[in-house]
Structure formats: structure tokens, C-alpha cells
């Protein structure tokens, strides 16, 4: 694989410089985010390419001082959602809002879970597999909340849904991950 030649610059030098800098600073993070979303290298490449093409087209709409990563992550999630809809031809149902803290009635059993038994290195592979088994929306929220450390409000803005939906998706995703890890441990 050779070094790519210097590309012919588009008409606007500022636009080209903006894109060059964006790829240099955020290309790796964007690609990894796309890969975690799609769990597929070819799809991750296409998603990353399309996202930076959008960045190039809409470079003037980026507001200096705001988070570029949040901006491009939003672009990636929108593109990913559109692609899924195009492929599957159906819309995902919105999860009902459930944003009230709830008290657990009764005693909580001190149940052992696979997470207790597994050290960090052992959890990696089953966890990656379990993550891949989540729905796209659930995986999206887990990645943004637990890996990228975004707030619920930021995630709601990026994914264009309510905070209650973000909260519910994250709760269900984590519950499913625990269940899948438990099943993996039992096998």
C-alpha cells in the first residue's frame, strides 16, 4: 500500500485545510466510532468517508468553540440510521419514556454475575460479542454513554431523540449485556 499522493486541492483553500485538519485530528476517533456502530470494517469505511464528505460540504456550518467530535458523531449516527432504514425498509419503534428514578421494593439479593467473576482481560471477547448482539440504537447509546462518556442530553441531541428514550435504551442495553454475559459464562 503506497502513500497516497497529494490530492488536487478543491477551489477553496480554507475548505481543504478545514477538511485536512479534521481528518488528522478526528479521523481515528470517527473511524472507531463508526466501526463500533457497524461492527463491520467495510461499513465503517463507507460511513467514515460519507461523514467526512458531509463535513466538507457543510464546513461553514460548524460553529467554532463547539465540539467538533460531537458534530461529526451526530453526522455518523444520522448516516448510520438512514443506511439501516434504507437496507431494512422499516422504522424502529421509539422506546417509551421512562425517566423517573424508581426505588426497588424489597430486599436485593446479593447475586453473583459474570462480571464479578471475570477479570478485565477475560471480559473483553464475550463483551465485544455481546455488544454486537445489541440493536443498533442500544449499541449506539452504550458506546456514546459508557465509552465516549457523553451526557444523556448530548446523546439525545446527537441521535435526535428524547432524554427519556436515551435513558431507557441505555438501561435495557445494559440489562441485555448482563444477561448475554451470564449466558456466555454458563457455556
Amino acid at each position: 500500500m503506497g502513500v497516497p499522493r497529494t490530492p488536487d486541492l478543491p477551489p477553496s483553500p480554507e475548505q481543504a485545510a478545514f477538511l485536512e485538519r479534521a481528518i488528522e485530528q478526528y479521523g481515528k476517533a470517527t473511524y472507531n466510532f463508526a466501526y463500533r456502530l457497524t461492527n463491520n470494517e467495510a461499513d465503517a469505511r463507507d460511513l467514515t468517508q460519507d461523514a467526512f464528505l458531509r463535513v466538507y460540504r457543510a464546513w461553514r456550518s460548524f460553529q467554532p468553540g463547539t465540539s467538533f467530535l460531537s458534530w461529526i458523531y451526530r453526522i455518523v449516527t444520522n448516516l448510520h440510521r438512514d443506511e439501516l432504514r434504507r437496507r431494512k425498509g422499516r422504522f424502529y419503534e421509539e422506546i417509551p419514556e421512562d425517566n423517573a428514578p424508581q426505588a426497588y421494593g424489597g430486599q436485593r439479593p446479593l447475586a453473583q454475575t459474570p462480571i464479578d467473576d471475570l477479570v478485565e482481560g477475560q471480559l473483553g471477547e464475550p463483551l465485544s460479542k455481546a455488544l454486537a448482539m445489541l440493536s443498533s440504537e442500544q449499541r449506539q447509546v452504550v458506546i456514546l454513554a459508557d465509552i465516549e462518556d457523553y451526557s444523556y442530553q448530548e446523546i439525545a441531541d446527537m441521535t435526535e431523540c428524547s432524554i427519556g428514550t436515551v435513558r431507557s435504551r441505555l438501561h435495557r442495553a445494559r440489562a441485555l449485556l448482563r444477561k448475554l454475559l451470564m449466558q456466555a459464562q454458563q457455556h
Binding site: 500500500m1 497516497p4 478543491p10 479521523g27 472507531n32 464528505l53 428514578p101 424508581q102 454475575t113 459508557d146
Partner: protein
């Protein structure tokens, strides 16, 4: 203590998404409740494991992908003088060329719309008479014209006429109006 907080609430607490009052209650409860503290610790471990797995699986941006991005950008960008090339497309070039051809034709003298003006008819005698008069005024004319017929006894008139011409020729500068 019989009341415990749900796992969902503990997840929200872990992510700092509870309102201040609820956050304080959970914080206080977890400090005193082994079960909820253990559940909170499991959720925290799950989050740590997710981040660790992501760090291990992290990939570099492929160089070929960079090239793909720039290739897509180049495919979108208009080429230099693209507006000229766009005019050379047949769908544009043919109508433009036809319009230009029509304009040139109708603007040319060959066009049936070109106004035709008949040359003014001037009698040949006019030229002869005019030319004869000019000859009289210019003794250095190439073509020698026959001297006008002078009636006998009127020799002085020709000379005086010539003298008049000479007088006219030698005009004193002082008599001229100088336009500055």
C-alpha cells in the same frame, strides 16, 4: 433497610444524570447498603470493561481510507474553468452556436434585413464642372485643363484674378484671428 434503588437508578447515578436531591439520596444510601453498593460496583465494572475493550480494539485510520475521502471530495469539487467546460457540452453548445450563427447572419450585410440604400445619383456633368473650378484654383494640378475662354479685351481680369489669388495667399498674420 428494606428499600433499595433500582439498577436503572444506579446506572443514572453512575453517569451523573440524577437531579441533585436524588443524587444525594442515592449517595447516602449506597454508603449504608451493601446490596446496592455491590450492584453499583457491578455496573461500574461493566462500564470499565466496555471502555477497556474499546481501547484494545481501537484501530488506526487506514491510509487508503484517507485517499478515499479525498477522492470523493475531488469528485464533488468543480474543476478549474468548469464553467467553460459546461458550455462545451452538446446540450448547451449547440443552441449557443445556433444562436450565435443567427445573430451573425442577420447582422451582416448579406442579411435580407440589412438596410439597402441606393447610391445617390449624381450627374457626370457635376463632376466635370466641379473639377474645372478646382483646376482654376489650383495651378499645380496634374491634369492641365484648358484655360477658360477669355474674351478678348479682358486680359486684365485673368491677371487681376490671379493677383487676387496671390493676395489671398499672402495673408498677413496680423490680420488673422488667433484662437488660443
Amino acid at each position: 433497610m428494606n428499600d433499595h434503588f433500582s439498577t436503572d437508578t444506579l446506572i443514572d447515578y453512575l453517569h451523573g444524570e440524577l437531579d441533585p436531591a436524588s443524587d444525594a439520596r442515592v449517595h447516602q444510601h449506597v454508603a449504608a447498603c451493601r446490596a446496592c453498593a455491590a450492584e453499583l460496583d457491578r455496573e461500574r465494572t461493566l462500564g470499565d470493561a466496555l471502555r477497556a475493550a474499546a481501547g484494545r480494539d481501537e484501530r488506526e485510520l487506514p491510509a487508503a481510507l484517507k485517499a478515499q475521502i479525498w477522492a470523493a471530495v475531488r469528485a464533488e469539487s468543480p474543476r478549474p474553468f468548469g464553467w467553460v467546460r459546461s458550455l462545451l457540452r452538446p446540450v448547451v453548445a449547440f443552441p449557443v452556436a445556433a444562436a450565435a450563427a443567427f445573430a451573425l447572419y442577420f447582422a451582416s450585410p448579406a442579411s435580407p434585413l440589412w438596410p439597402t440604400h441606393a447610391a445617390p445619383a449624381i450627374a457626370a456633368s457635376y463632376y466635370l464642372e466641379r473639377h474645372e473650378a478646382q483646376q482654376l484654383q489650383n495651378p499645380l494640378a496634374e491634369r492641365s485643363m484648358p484655360a477658360p475662354t477669355i474674351e478678348a479685351g479682358y486680359e486684365g481680369s485673368a491677371q487681376s484674378e490671379t493677383a487676387d489669388l496671390a493676395t489671398e495667399a499672402s495673408v498677413s498674420p496680423g490680420t488673422l484671428d488667433v484662437v488660443r
